[in-house]
């Protein structure tokens, strides 16, 4: 396995107010992957990103970006990073093009390049390049922030809640853009509290809650490892209560009593399905259909966050 492009070791943050925003986080990001940092509001996602990008000073820990220590060699580390913040903070009076050129210069690149034009075209901003940012819609402003972050050709792009408050169409566009960037070799780290987004885009997912990184794994592996499955049994006769004889199984009634739902662990040696079906036959409960489905990342997430909160 190759050297990770970003390595976070024992990074914690305690604010002056005494709030522990992060508890000793360890995290490695591989080159070229899309990593989703998933967690509820206030979990510490933005704090972690801000520390990596140099906006917040960590209380403890080290960060290495592309082999450079973020504290010892901040310039070399930071040159590789582009950050799209959550807030729509822009220089309202600047034009789209000049604000992108400002970003490029600020990160130490000469202006003589058609890279900016390419970025603006990629983000469908080229026609608006002479417009003042204040004249643009919220979605367009977010594109401008992405263009600014890409203006200096970063190897790693941080997207902090890229689709918060964004309409469905723009969200789809954003997803497409992220995939295009990955094809060009950019490593992408995004934070989100939409499970759908992590599920759609990420290669790997890290779940963060209460300032702790609870789990980091391949998205598919995570879903498989922690995924529960559901068995829906369509009953012939609707049921009002679950018979006491079925107390050994984790059952619930759905669909006005017409469906009996059994939640089971797909990884377990004994799923309990055959015995459940036998018991139903013993009790003369007729059924006409069986359907199983895997639980979504959302269920996994909720479980993890609950456990993490304990």
């Amino acid at each position: 396995m190759t050297e990770p492009i970003l390595s976070v070791r024992g990074v914690s943050k305690t604010y002056a107010s005494g709030v522990h925003a992060l508890h000793a986080v360890d995290l490695d990001i591989n080159k070229g992957e899309i990593f989703a940092l998933l967690g509820p509001n206030g979990a510490g996602k933005t704090t972690l990103i801000s520390i990596i990008c140099g906006i917040v000073t960590p209380s403890t820990g080290t960060i290495t970006v592309g082999g450079f220590d973020a504290i010892g060699q901040p310039k070399r580390a930071r040159r590789q990073i582009g950050l799209v913040p959550q807030e729509l903070a822009t220089d309202m009076f600047e034009t789209v093009e000049s604000t992108c050129r400002f970003s490029r210069g600020l990160f130490g690149h000469p202006q003589k390049s058609d890279h900016i034009e390419e970025v603006l075209r990629d983000l469908s901003l080229y026609d608006k390049r002479k417009s003042k940012i204040m004249e643009l819609s919220g979605g367009m402003k977010r594109r401008v922030l992405i263009a600014k972050a890409l203006a200096h050709e970063p190897h790693i792009l941080f997207l902090d809640e890229p689709t918060a408050g964004v309409d469905v169409e723009l969200r789809r566009d954003m997803w497409k853009l992220v995939h295009r960037l990955r094809e060009k070799g950019t490593t992408i780290i995004l934070t989100t509290h939409y499970i759908e987004e992590a599920e759609e885009m990420a290669d790997r997912v890290g779940v963060i809650s209460g300032g702790k990184l609870l789990v980091v794994d391949e998205k598919t592996a995570l879903m498989k490892k922690l995924g529960k499955r559901e068995l829906d049994i369509a009953l012939n006769e609707p049921m009002s209560t679950i018979p006491g004889d079925l107390g050994d199984w984790e059952l619930s009634l759905e669909n006005e009593g017409k469906t009996l739902r059994y939640v089971f662990d797909a990884q377990a040696e004994r799923t309990g399905i055959p015995s459940l079906l036998r018991k139903l036959a013993d009790l003369n409960i007729g059924f006409k259909d069986l359907e199983t489905s895997k639980s979504s990342l959302e269920d996994i997430f909720v479980d993890l966050v609950k456990e993490g909160g304990k």
Binding site: Y15, A16, S50, C53, G54, I55, V56, T57, P74, K75, R76, A77, R78, R79, I81, L83, P85, E87, A89, T90, D91, M92, F93, E94, S98, R101, F102, S103, R104, G105, L106, F107, G108, H109, P110, Q111, K148
Partner: protein, 253 residues
């Protein structure tokens, strides 16, 4: 050295001044002309001369100094306060640019604007009264030193300020009174004691005196002391800025 980064900030700040040209340059010129009409024209006809210099000419260095101080402070303070206010500071903090480079960009732009402004006021004044310049190099040196020093001071205020009222607080409630009481429109040697002695604690006295010396070869205090006082204040500002960036005071969490 991130030269592109310094240039980006410098150009950004200069573009901001051009966008608000009216506010940045025209307003101070009009204000100065008004002072000139009132003090030089209306009152000057009563006062005639101070230290053997026609009163109209005598007030020119003081007028330039007053604009230089307030404009340097307000330009530099808004330059750094505005990104804090809008949130765009995230980009500066995450950029591969160190504190010294950032200060060169912001303070350099603010000082440039002040020097240009000082020269414009000088040219405006030259339309009204004859202005001899005995020590042109010293005059330019004082212009530069004062612009840079007070732009540094403005940068500190911009970092410190938590709101627009605090931003205006220092120029309005500290600098303007100190300038008025600092011999901008009179020679402090004309003051009765104890006011004369009190005046020597006012740092602006040294600025105005030194600057006036470069024009008329006469000042309230020896020019060496003026230079030392201004230089000392600049070093103090640099020390405070170094501390701000080391601790992240009001910039970083």
């Amino acid at each position: 050295m991130n030269v592109h980064g310094i240039l980006a900030i410098y150009k950004f700040e200069m573009a901001r001044a051009l966008r608000t040209l009216w506010q940045s340059l025209v307003t101070p010129v009009i204000t100065t002309s008004l002072y000139f009409v009132v003090f030089g024209g209306a009152l000057g006809s009563q006062i005639k001369e101070v230290d053997g210099i026609a009163y109209g000419s005598f007030i020119v260095p003081g007028l330039i100094m007053m604009s230089l101080l307030t404009q340097s402070i307000s330009n530099a303070s808004i330059g750094i306060y505005f990104p804090k206010f809008t949130g765009t500071i995230f980009e500066l903090l995450s950029a591969p640019i160190n504190s010294m480079e950032m200060v060169i960009g912001y303070v350099g732009a603010a000082a440039t604007k002040s020097v240009v402004l000082g020269l414009i006021i000088l040219a405006t004044a030259a339309l009204f009264v004859p202005i001899p310049i005995h020590h042109p190099f010293a005059m330019v040196a004082f212009l530069l030193l004062t612009s840079i020093t007070f732009s540094l001071f403005g940068f500190i205020i911009g970092v410190w300020a938590k709101g627009f009222e605090q931003l205006n607080f220092v120029p309005a409630l500290l600098i303007t009174p100190l300038t008025f009481l600092g011999g901008a429109f009179y020679s402090i040697s004309k003051l009765p004691d104890p006011w004369r002695t009190f005046s020597l604690f006012n740092p602006v006295v040294y600025l105005v005196s030194g600057f006036r010396w470069s024009f008329f070869d006469k000042g309230d205090v020896p020019v060496g002391i003026s230079l030392a006082a201004t230089g000392g204040f600049m070093l103090l500002c640099l020390a405070v800025i170094a501390w701000i960036f080391r601790t992240g005071y009001r910039l970083k969490n």
